[in-house]
């Protein structure tokens, strides 16, 4: 219990939180496709458990519902926290769009 005399006094206290350093300069998004028909869509597993199996099911959905879409299922090299410049270069070279997943 705080003594009543203290409750009525005013206190100046310091802010405990760190300072934001962020200046966010977002990149504009890549242009969208007119259609996915005839296009190559990469589905990239980022490495969380169950993600690859989920994307396999997504590939199955495309083949059943949008057979004109070519899908390429790939695992990202390394764990979910690591970059994979080789795969990004391949996607840019051979793909038209990419779906990353599944974070969790």
């Amino acid at each position: 219990m705080i003594p009543s005399t203290l409750q009525s006094l005013s206190h100046a206290v310091l802010n405990p939180r760190g300072q934001s350093t962020g200046v966010f300069e977002p990149s504009s998004m890549a242009p969208r496709l007119d259609t996915l028909n005839g296009k190559t869509i990469y589905l990239v597993d980022v490495g969380f458990g169950g993600g690859y199996e989920f994307l396999e099911e997504a590939v199955g959905w495309f083949s059943r519902n949008m057979p004109a879409v070519k899908t390429v299922l790939r695992r990202k090299r390394g764990n979910m926290f690591l970059d994979d410049p080789e795969l990004w270069a391949e996607v840019k070279d051979k793909g038209h769009a990419v779906i990353f997943g599944v974070g969790g």
Partner: protein, 455 residues
Amino acid sequence: MATARFSDYIARDARNHGMLLRFSFPPYPVVGMTRATLRKYVEGNDPTTGKPLMQELVDALTKPLTAQEKNPVRVQKPERPRLLKTDSEENLHRLFLENGWTDGLPIVLPTEERVAEMLTGTSHAPDEVVGLMTVTHLQEKLQYTVEKVAVNAVMAGARPEHFPVILAIASTQEPSLPSSTTSFGRMILVNGPIRDEIGMNYGAGALSPFNYANAVIGRAWTLMSVNLADARLGETFMGSTGHNLNYNNMCCAENEEKSVWQPFHVEKGFKRDESVVSLFRGWSVINSMGAANCIRPATEETAIMLKAFPALRSAATLIMDPLVAKGLKEQGHQTKQDVTRWLSQNVKIPAGQYWGADVIYAFMSPLARQGVEPYATWAKLPKDELITPYNDPTQMNIVVVGGETNPLWLTTDFLYTQSASIDKWRPKGGIRRDERPLRMPAGTGCSDGTCGFPA
């Protein structure tokens, strides 16, 4: 795509990276679900929008960009004011608690006078930048100064004599509350002369709440992680169960005087007379419960316990009473490395057990696929073939802590992360102690230290 449980987190994380992306969210969890369930997810709706998930993905790739997506706005967050609005003590306590700036326990309000006093615990200028911290892997980092660390040290109930240790922890830029859903536990180990200068406990009950310095230093790391690394439940901190170790981070010191082996900081390249703080990260702690060498040697008992962990990156840390260390030395283990080498060679589990763990799938399977040994070979083995998962003994650590009431120890899956000098944060005139230092009662033990068997 991310599971719906992370819809807010993901959107904020991407925004903070300056990455505008179109997200879709299947239900959660994805991990551990049957094929039938995953197919239902794929053919069902995004629970955050109520729209069919796959059509949403198709739309995300084909619907024209909005004006904002084409020309996103630059955002700069405002600077936080140094002082909060003046108020009564009761209201300020409420403000700190309701804003999530505490660990739920009462704090000491960081008034200007108290913070100024804390700053006498170092010679470093209040406005010196100590570092940047975040609880998430790639989230925006917050910057903090010596004064910000002092504010959190005051809140934790620390005194100026503790401040060099707290600053050393802050200098690692490592949060105690990683964002992970897996709920990490942490450990702080202090070595060197400062242990006695500030009255740390490395003897009996060192990991229990019977020592002022151990308590407030450990707590300060958590408060710094909340306020300087921006840990916010459900926003940046996603631990599913959470971890009770987060309150104090197993803060203790090593019992260098009673250890028969080299102190931990000396193993890491520091001089014996340097004061150093070392940090560890893991999840699990198994108490030996019974005494070493009653029926079987401590090494064999430890090997059984280590089999319960996934052995991620071969990491393990043993926290053992000096009596255990003495016993192991008597059995022929002349150094800590003799023990870790023995464990590395003798802990064996079936390959199927190893590869069946989620964290091994996430972090070691990629290495196996890349052909990195021994993981590539282990991945090809039959499930019942035995492997030695702690294949790198340099990732296994031993620290000696305890009061020789019995030869007992803790086996953990903790990974050593880094050490930092405490001495560089000391005030020029030496540790700033109170005229009458605050100390809890010390445990009573063998008065002249000769009760146990000789080293």
